[in-house]
């Protein structure tokens, strides 16, 4: 479903702020894979996801989604294949627009937008049903401005919008990091539910090692722009947080430098 081959990315090339963010990343995901990504600050996790989305062009390498080489495609054209949830709950929805308007925008991801009405009556009842699955009572607030929702509600809505038009690949970039623990759990459970029900291929960055172990069928660890550890199946299931910390020290020769990960 996804092939990342020899991808390199350096920011601010030739300046004092030069930062080599991706240093030859190779990764292949099969259909239905759900991979969790962990790594210290500046390991290149978000850069990897953003490269796949086309937020910026990569310096070298290729990215193929479901057999289509998207390396040169602009961000809005790749959106056809991708569902995305950002770390910042404000980023995934349009605050000044209604819930149903936001959903109708997501419903047309990858489709031509012409001069037809933006929302039909039939869609509206579909939206109501989909929202009821979130269990947050949003189904009765179709014409509320999204800006009035809480961070957790917005993130749950963004998640729903990312999957309502089945994506080839769902990308979750620390999407629960900005939420309080209880809301984070709700959103994480919803993510699991949507991924399982839709048989989605997904990537999830998390700073929580326990989450990284308990969710998904694969796990990768990144360090200095490389994937240093790639584990799946039974071996992944048996991992513990201590195993991961030890693995990291062995493979990188450093202590795991991410305060949030250690605190959890």
């Amino acid at each position: 479903m996804l092939q990342v081959k020899g991808v390199y990315k350096t920011f601010n090339k030739g300046t004092v702020n030069e930062k080599r963010a991706l240093n030859g990343v190779d990764l292949t995901l099969s259909e239905g894979d759900f991979v969790t990504i962990i790594g210290g600050n500046g390991a290149g996790k978000s850069t990897l996801l953003n490269s796949i989305c086309g937020v910026f062009p990569v310096d070298k390498g290729s990215i193929t989604i479901d057999g289509t080489d998207v390396t040169k495609l602009p961000e809005h054209k790749r959106a056809k294949y991708l569902g995305r949830v950002f770390q910042d709950p404000m980023m995934g929805t349009a605050a000044d627009m209604w819930i149903e308007e936001n959903m109708s925008l997501a419903y047309r991801r990858g489709k031509r937008r012409g001069l037809k009405w933006a929302i039909t009556g039939k869609e509206r009842s579909q939206y109501r049903y989909m929202l009821s699955q979130l269990g947050l009572g949003l189904e009765n607030r179709l014409s509320s401005k999204v800006g009035l929702l809480s961070g957790g509600q917005r993130q749950a809505l963004t998640l729903l919008m990312a999957v309502m038009q089945k994506p080839k690949l769902l990308l979750l970039d620390e999407h629960t990091a900005a939420l309080d623990p209880k809301t984070a759990e709700t959103v994480l459970n919803l993510s699991d539910k949507f991924i399982a029900e839709g048989k989605l291929t997904a990537m999830m960055i998390t700073h929580n090692m326990k989450d990284a172990i308990t969710h998904g069928n694969r796990l990768i660890m990144m360090h200095e722009g490389r994937i240093i550890y790639n584990v799946s199946g039974e071996e992944k299931k048996k991992l513990t947080v201590d195993d991961l910390l030890k693995k990291f020290a062995d493979l990188s020769g450093e202590e795991f430098a991410n305060d949030r990960a250690l605190l959890n």
Binding site: A79, A106, R108, G110, R113
Partner: protein, 298 residues
């Protein structure tokens, strides 16, 4: 006092014409979230095109259509500067505005002012007949508002709103934000030029400076409309109506202060200061609110 009331119909007619211009400003300023300074030039482009087309023997309707198209072209240039040259929107607008100064002089064969006499041409409105001018301008305003209301209810209109509201979200949902910005600027400047074509008929001439400070008048109309009617006008069409009402009130106030003895040459300064204060109010409100919570926490 009597003469003040006598001057009201003129203020209303001008207010509606400038209110149409304010609708154009609303599209960029409120929906796309950019302050587009192209309008100072495209207002005059509309007027100049109108007069020249009439002089060549065209019918007023056709002439206005061409004026609209000329404004659209101006907006397109700003859109290209902004999205394809990576120039910040404000600067892109200033560049086009400067280009338009030369272009407008060319349209008017290098003269800074061209007359358009209602005695000689079949015009849609003129200050000689104020009731008619008010009706015609109102009809134009109503039709434009209706068309925009429809457009912003379509898929394309929604994607334009999303572009102005949250570009990250728009791109993640497959919306080409560059194209949408261009469409918004094209539409906006087309409407502004249309307003310019109405103004040139109303006043009976086109002038190279007729759009100078137009952005300020447009912003003033939008803001006055929001301050006075924002609480009750929630619907999109009504928000556009509010901009037109804002234009009318602006011109009534201007008439008032001129009667009260303000030097006409100080008018632009007066308008700009009023707009500055109204733009400042939400900022100050926020500051004061923040100051309170800080004290409350301590």
């Amino acid at each position: 006092m009597l003469s003040f009331f006598a001057s009201m119909p003129g203020a209303v007619a001008q207010g509606i014409i400038w209110g149409i211009m304010a609708i154009g400003v609303y599209l960029t300023f409120r929906i796309l979230d950019v302050a587009d300074l192209t309008v100072d030039g495209s207002m005059a482009t509309g007027g100049a095109t109108m007069v020249v087309c009439m002089m060549s023997g065209m019918n007023a309707g056709v002439a206005m259509l061409i004026a609209f198209a000329a404004g659209c072209a101006a907006g397109f240039v700003t859109g290209i500067f902004h999205t394809k040259f990576g120039i910040p929107a404000i600067l892109a607008g200033i560049l086009t505005q400067l280009i338009l100064y030369s272009v407008n002089l060319r349209i008017m064969s290098q003269s800074a002012n061209l007359p358009l006499s209602v005695d000689k041409y079949q015009l849609l409105l003129s200050l000689r007949n104020l009731p008619q001018a008010i009706v015609v301008a109102s009809v134009f305003a109503a039709v434009i508002i209706a068309l925009l209301y429809w457009f912003f209810g379509t898929e394309m209109g929604h994607s334009l709103r999303a572009t102005g509201c949250n570009q990250n979200m728009a791109k993640a949902n497959g919306i080409n934000t560059d194209t949408n910005k261009i469409i918004g600027l094209v539409l906006s400047n087309g409407i502004v030029a249309l307003s310019g074509s109405l103004l040139s008929q109303y006043q009976g001439f086109a002038d190279i400076n007729m759009g100078r400070g137009a952005i300020v008048i447009g912003l003033a109309a939008v803001i006055i409309g929001e301050v006075l009617l924002g609480k009750i006008f929630k619907n999109f069409a009504l928000k556009l109506v509010a901009a037109v009402v804002g234009g009318i009130i602006y011109y009534i106030v201007i008439t008032l202060v001129l009667r009260a003895g303000l030097n006409a040459n100080d008018l632009k300064m007066f308008s700009a200061l009023v707009v500055a204060v109204f733009l400042g109010i939400p900022y100050w409100k926020r500051k004061i609110a923040e100051g309170r919570t800080e004290k409350g926490d301590a």
